[in-house]
Amino acid sequence: MQLFELPTELLQLIVSYLSTSSALAIALTSRLWFDIAIEHLWAAPHAATLANAGYRADYKHLKHREGRLDRIWRKARNAVGIRSTKDKERIPTRVFRAQRFQFYASLVRSLTLEESGYVMDYSLLLPPLMVLGGGSSFLPAALTRLRVLTLRACCAHFLLPLSSLPWSICPLIRINVCLRQNSVLSVHEHLELSTLTEALSPLPRLDDLKVERRLWSGQERALLQLVSERFGSTLKTVAALGLGFDVHTLEVSLPALQEVSLTLDTDSLVPRALRLPTLRKLNVHICTSASGIHALLVALVVPSLEKLAITVGFSSALESAQGEWQVTDPLHALLSLVARKHPQMVSLSLSVYEQHPSPLPSWPFRRLEPILALSRLTELQIVTPASLPLGDTEISALCDACYNLRILLLSWPIVRSHAPGWRALSALAQLHGLQELTIPVELPAYIPLMALPSDSTLESFHMGQGDVASPRPAARTLRALFPHLKKLEFDPRPPSPAVEDRTRAVRLEWLRAVAQLGLVLE
């Protein structure tokens, strides 16, 4: 049996699994494969690429060597009515180029138009469009198979000419709009929202809206009102990043909303009750105070919130003013609230991005204990500059409580006296679904008997700033615990200046080489 005897749909499926270079290689083998692979090659090109396809200088092809690209040229010639050599000389070169542009544009299924250096790259497409006779308004007509359109800009004015094009003639299933204002334009921020509102209104649909500002100025109500009225049935994702966003504005009707991203630093802008019945994922960025996210979680009326990501700018936002965690610990209160209101949560992420907090805080395990009540968690991520005295006992407790974990990412400055070791890894090896693991571990020379062979499916393990005493026996034990391990990584920075940098790196490289490659050195 030959490959080309298969139906075209299956051949297209095979090509979709090929890399771009291999897809091109197979396109160059025969006309049959060319027709199949070229659709894959031009499914999602860069706008500049598309412009280049129409405007690449190619006089040689046109004047003397026309036989080369027969298939495309024949289409171009037929389209402009060339029948003889005289006709050919009569037709200007730019028409051929425009026809080539049109040919490739008709294959595009996903296109991103973005602002680069105060110019939308969409302007690159204008010359061939002008030749095709419709000017800029001809762009949607040329993109006959466009399914996904993404518009990105730093200034809403750039979106205006694009959004007013007749996109409704394209078979679009998704439109994403991203407005990320830069600091240079921040003085005109108050004008931007009204322009954005104006720019969005002509679009036929809107699925993903992301607006990033320095400071919201109270005009978000008009924006959300428009979004609710025009795109309520399609809008799935809203990201409103920047200080001062009034959460009351989300009370408008958004029946398809599944994901919200907000910057919240105060509870004064949060309503008492916020009904978002279809919400699945919530991302909240806080800078200096956790009161805003606490108030939001209290106010949210969501039947099934599955994913929560909290990003913290300053670790002090999670510290109590009195320093008595037992009474007013913001982090414990926040996690308790999550565990109480959303026990069905499957993904929880807490990331503190302050690199060098002063003084370096330390979080006792009891601050994180409410996480143990989230038994359905499949993804857990905690990244903090605070030291977490998590040892074998705490990790074992976590494994017992969250036995469905698939991805576990714990990152903190390791304390050698109280770090997870073999017992913790043995407990983690019992999690059958675990696929990715990041945890700083200190692996001593003594390997306890409990490190028995397991059927763990773990494939990726990052040791962070951990260390190993005896690489060879440790590698053997790691292979026994995680037989499917493919990738072992570590942070080359030593956990403290006291540790000898070079010898640690050598030990860990040995461990990686032996454990990753599956070599057993006797």
Partner: protein
């Protein structure tokens, strides 16, 4: 409950219900009547179901896959970036001829997970080869002249334009 499957050569394979459930055609034949008649027509059917387009060797290979996935869901999402499990890739191997027969049979028997795996297997065999290498492997006679090949490579190799714009 078990079902007998009969290959092109007439060889019989006795399979359990969870294994047979992975094969769309068999599922429809054996249990499709549940919905309309309220009972399964092929329950412990001694006649068996004949799969006239599938040879014994390919059917036995397919049943290994079905046996492996009788208790868990295979990948059926069409996302080309998704990675298949290690067992799947070892199962499908690198023998182009055999993968082609598996692909054809998976299409005929309506097994979407195996169909995607076979497509991925073929793509892995083709990946990294140049046009000549692919022609040699697949036994294709190149339609394009060397000049045409160079020109089309230039025209469609757009990811290189950003590095060396022409």
């Amino acid at each position: 409950m078990s079902i007998t499957l009969i290959s092109k050569e007439g060889a019989q394979f006795l399979v359990s219900k969870p294994v047979a459930d992975r094969i769309g055609v068999v599922r429809d034949c054996a249990y499709g009547a549940d919905f309309w008649l309220g009972y399964a027509v092929a329950t412990d059917d001694s006649m068996g179901i004949t799969l006239a387009n599938v040879t014994s060797s390919i059917l036995s290979k397919i049943l290994v896959w079905c046996e492996h996935y009788k208790d868990m869901e295979p990948l059926v999402d069409g996302d080309s970036n998704m990675e298949f499990p290690e067992w799947d890739m070892a199962y499908i191997g690198h023998d182009m001829n055999q993968i082609l027969f598996v692909l054809e049979a998976a299409d005929y028997l309506h097994i979407p997970g195996l169909l995607l795996l076979a497509c991925k297997g073929i793509a892995d065999v083709l990946d990294g080869r140049n046009p000549r290498g692919i022609c040699d492997l697949l036994g294709i006679v190149m339609d394009f002249s060397h000049r045409q090949e160079v020109d089309m490579d230039k025209e469609n190799g757009y990811w290189r334009w950003f590095l060396h714009p022409t």
